[in-house]
Symmetry: none
Subunit: 191 residues, 4 copies
């Protein structure tokens, strides 16, 4: 029953329910089951929660991806599974992602943010490197850079769905197909 983690967990929940601005510290501590003052033992302000939340988000994303992407399938299938996973996380946490992004952008925690996001980049980089060494994708690709671009692309495509469109699930299905095509051609994936 670690109180700090409790607070972060509660904040994730409340933030994604009502947004940052409408969330009161008192909402968070109530959800976390700790006293008002306890919050300030661990965090000087609402926004200082962001790096901790971002960390959790990335963990969740990686966990989901690792759970969804199978070892014994083709690279092409893995891409589909990655896209599926990211769309899934975005569906569940899209508001929170936007808020983290904004929260980080309006603070000075960017360095931390990069550190936090790094495991995700590394994981995708490794996947691309492997595919490259097996000759399944273009030789000319810079894996680390492409990993970032690809993740950015998929996340941005997923967010578009959950921000703008109406019949989310149906739109998501179509958007995923398009992203899939887009990425595979971009990578020069050989089925």
């Amino acid at each position: 029953m670690n109180k700090k983690d409790n607070i972060v967990r509660a904040a994730v929940k409340i933030f994604s329910e009502k947004g940052i601005e409408k969330t009161k510290i008192s909402d968070i501590v109530k959800e976390a089951g700790v006293a008002q003052g306890t919050f300030y033992l661990y965090f000087p302000s609402k926004l200082s929660l962001m790096p901790a939340i971002a960390e959790i988000m990335v963990e969740k994303t990686l966990t989901i991806i690792k759970g969804n992407v199978q070892d014994d399938v083709s690279f092409s299938t893995k891409i589909e599974q990655i896209i599926d996973s990211i769309f899934m996380v975005t569906r569940d946490y899209n508001e929170l992602q936007a808020l983290i992004y904004a929260g980080l952008a309006s603070t000075e925690h960017l360095k931390e943010w990069e550190a936090v996001y790094n495991p995700f980049y590394v994981w995708v980089s490794d996947l691309l490197r492997e595919a490259q060494s097996e000759g399944v994708i273009r030789e000319s690709i810079h894996v680390e850079r492409t990993a970032k671009i690809m993740i950015g692309l998929i996340e941005s495509a997923a967010e578009q769905i959950y921000l703008y469109d109406s019949d989310k699930d149906d739109q998501a299905r179509i958007q995923k197909i398009e992203v899939n095509q887009f990425v595979k051609h971009a990578l020069g994936v050989k089925d």
Copy 2:
């Protein structure tokens, strides 16, 4: 000396300086040189500024793109010019873009946002459609959807540079090359 525009201009400035949450209406009106009450003659709330700001951003972006993308060059070159333009806008306004994104995400102005962003999507869609009809890119591409994905991809790639990396200009140069390759392969551009 149109007061409404003054307010929007002031808001753009202050928002990108201190973020949305930390910006008070009083900061905006002071910067705009109008009275506190005047704000409410034009905008019912702080967040209702967002669509107006987004509109300005999109206008700026489109103006820059239209200024940079030449008529009499190959589609491949146009892609490069679009990437260049978006990186340029992002370099100058990356903080604001994050804020608009967040501001829109945390409000109910999404419909307006989509409307505002639409001209940009349409412009790129038209470009893609033309390229498709000329057989320069893949037949299988859904132009509207791909336009959105592509814009999302390029913007996200550009933001990565201006958010995280250190030697911005150099990194931007490399990132643009990679994005260019990525997009062209994705689209199946035939040089």
Copy 3:
């Protein structure tokens, strides 16, 4: 119905009733009949009231002294009337005096404090100078400096009464006599 003055007047009242620490801003604004936020239009904090309050205190003191000290009496009598007056003010506001002193001491308003207290010093200096020119007090006295010392002495003596002693009025009577003797001898007053 000047709101700023209202706030100061209310603060004087509440402070002397319940002390600084126990006084809430909300008490002051309630007494002043203004809104909570109005306080902050004029004063950034509770302690920033102090110079304004000190000013009022000095005004009150001077008013009482000028009311009590007659023109057509001997210098010796005037001293007695001054002592009487200061003991009177101290009796009514001794807590406030201590608080102002503390409030000023714990802030950076000392310069202001001196400026505020100055009229009082000047008034007594003038009295001493007149007495000196009439040969009623010692030639060797430095009037400005002695004015300050004398005021300090009388106030400190008065405060001793209202801080420590029990039968205030009786003690005050005796203490005033002693102070009177003390001061007159110090000044070398010739009856």
Copy 4:
């Protein structure tokens, strides 16, 4: 390494640095190097420190005075030495004196305060009584009362210097001369 004394010493330091109101118990215990809860083993509240602090101040003052006032000099010289001593203590601890004064004024510890200050009064009373029996000062003086007045006068004069004036040391020199004259005439000192 007596913890109680440590706390008092730390409180003296922090109080004179930041004032009573702005001093938190947590500041004091941090400075004292003890735990938060330890404070409450020795003192029921912040203000209950005051008598202990006052005691230290009076001890210091008496020590300095007893060290400076010589046995084998005239009463007149002793007065000068007392004035010197009080100015010295005030120079070093003037902020603290104001704070003790305020702290005591705003509490119910006045009885203790009087008890604590008493040795000082007694010491000066004895001196005056001796001088009186030797016929060196006025017969009519009430020694206990005059001791208080005199101490109050000198302290108040000293505080004026260290509160308001700029060239402290020079001003102090002049002020001391004036106080000396003032007191000696008041007492009717015969050289």
